[in-house]
Symmetry: none
Subunit: 198 residues, 4 copies
DNA sequence: ACCTGCGGGACCGCCCGTTCGT
DNA sequence: ACGAACGGGCGGTCCCGCAGGT
């Protein structure tokens, strides 16, 4: 059973995720959250001890949205090489129709959180590692299943794929121009076919 | 002749660039700048109308530092294919020994500045375009000089190179682990030799 | 029911009215209000969006105090000619035992508020118009009731009475010498008897 | 001989008088004076020890302008009764074509200066006394010369005349409506003819 | 001798994140 | 869940002294 309080908490998280991902941790004030949720300060602080705790919850929610997209894609894509292409396309689709405005939450948090925000930084690391590991696992499984060439350097390829798409999403968002992501997806497709697929 | 005021102004910019690139625009307070410069508020606001004007000056200074590195590298590298590799290595070197702590100022500013910071956003766009155009020009000249293959898609290749290295620098910084940049540089080297070099 | 917040808000207004009427809008700092109310900045800004909003509320409170005095006098004075004399005496009494130190709030605000303080200026205009209209109405009713001579110029007489007493209060306050108001009240009495009373 | 320095000092005073009379002592910043004079801070502080000293000089200059007007009128008006009317008309003319925007400097200073501005307050008192004494002297001389009735109360009449016109100028300025001063001048004319003139 | 403008530091009005009584 | 109160920090402006150049 879901209590009223949990519903409110979830609503706050959903709304806060939008604001935090758009304006950043420092750029977002609790007043912004108040406006967006329609709650008073006390109502929010009832559910979260402080701004950071809320930001962490919102970040994890944002990550879960993106992960769900990936899972969804991977459900309908069994071949490892295809999955890597699907992964690239998820970034492209995410740009066109994002769950949250403001770009990739992991990159946003990684860039903004410094030594003064260790908790968020750690969360960003964990989320990025999760993404990295997912790609690694796909490649490794692909090698096992003879869908991907045996000589491929798993770690290195993963780094390339992740870097490229994070960078391309950032570029497309900076210019409001999807062509950067478009080209990157095409490049990933060619790269997979020429260098990875068995 | 350089007046005392200009010297002070430059000093403020240099110190501010460090802080802004580490903590971000919102994360940086004027008190941080005061502490770093050793000046009082009045002393700083004598040279800059407001925080944004200082941030813009600091950003432009940060960009100039990175550009100088690139130029320096390009001075000792004539071949276009070698220049692209040199470009990748500049990111790697920048990570190991950065002019400013905090990573790539362009990416930082691109990620943090939203619709509420239009001036900084535009500056980030301009700086990124400058970088993009530099790479484009190298490839195009390489094609003219028969150093790079005729069939190479200039724009697309540039997007890939820029995305990959911005993304890789972000990854290496997030983990404090240079291996991401290392692998990316190796990948760029291979990519240049196999796909670009004539 | 009166909430705690309303009580506090009223208290702030009462205290602020004292300070604003003494030191003026610019001369009063929020720290002055803090000291007087015993509240912290946040406690005050909870109830008023900004200094101007507080100043307006304080001004309206100050006006209401003076209006109450007038009403009180007019309750016990039915004859129009007597009421005009009572009106003059209210200024005299107000000097001797003011609700707020600092003189006439309307004159203070009229003099200090310029084009940069349009809201306060408008409030001062409205309050002065209210006062003017009150005197006008008394004279007009007095003419209807044959208490005041038919040939009296209502508007002109009102202007004279208002000007004279505002000016006299200012003079008495400038010198700390009630004789200016004393003489003016005597003059009003003579003026009413010789020129106005039927 | 007038040195360059004295010229500059006078120019500063003239410009400052405009600003101080418009915005008040607190409402005027030294930057306002800088903008108006075109001088730098040091250039101003060379001639005046601090803001207050400048304000005092500007006030005295403003007073002198008004006094000159009065003197001018009194030069061409020998009869005492006529002089009192002329005095009223000077206020009217001053409203229509002021030497300085912002109304009567004496009233402005009297209203704004409180216990925190003892020097300005004293200057305002002195200037008002000067005006008061001038009117007193006219009436007294008028009595001596049989231009004004013997039984007139000099002090009281002066207070009435001064109060009325200061008040009326304030009213006309508050509303931007000269009719208040117009009526007051007419009333003074009638008052002089009926009550004062021999 | 005179002016310029740099730098200081207190203070401004305001908003922040937070606590706690209701 | 509200909203009053907190207290400190925000970006920014103030007035002013003083070193240094002409």
């Amino acid at each position: 059973m879901v209590t009223k309080g949990e519903q409110t908490r979830d609503m706050i998280i959903r709304q806060a995720a939008v604001v935090f991902n758009s304006l950043g941790y420092f750029g977002t004030s609790m007043s912004d959250i108040m406006r967006e949720t329609g709650l008073e300060k006390g109502g929010i602080y009832n559910h979260f001890r402080n701004k950071e705790e809320l930001a962490v919850a919102a970040f994890e929610y944002a990550i879960s949205l993106f992960s769900n997209r990936l899972e969804q894609e991977f459900k309908i894509t069994r071949n490892a090489a295809d999955r890597l292409i699907a992964y690239a396309r998820v970034f492209y689709d995410y740009y066109l129709d994002p769950d949250l405005p403001g770009g990739c939450p992991i990159l946003n948090t990684a860039v903004e959180s410094d030594d003064a925000q260790p908790v968020l930084r750690e969360k960003a690391r964990a989320a990025m590692s999760e993404l990295h590991d997912t790609i690694c696992r796909i490649i490794r499984k692909g090698i096992e299943r003879n869908e991907i060439r045996r000589e491929v350097d798993v770690e290195s390829t993963t780094t390339i794929l992740v870097s490229m798409l994070e960078g391309a999403l950032m570029l497309s968002r900076l210019y409001g121009d999807m062509s950067h992501l478009e080209r990157t997806v095409q490049h990933v497709e060619a790269f997979v076919e020429e260098n990875l697929r068995q």
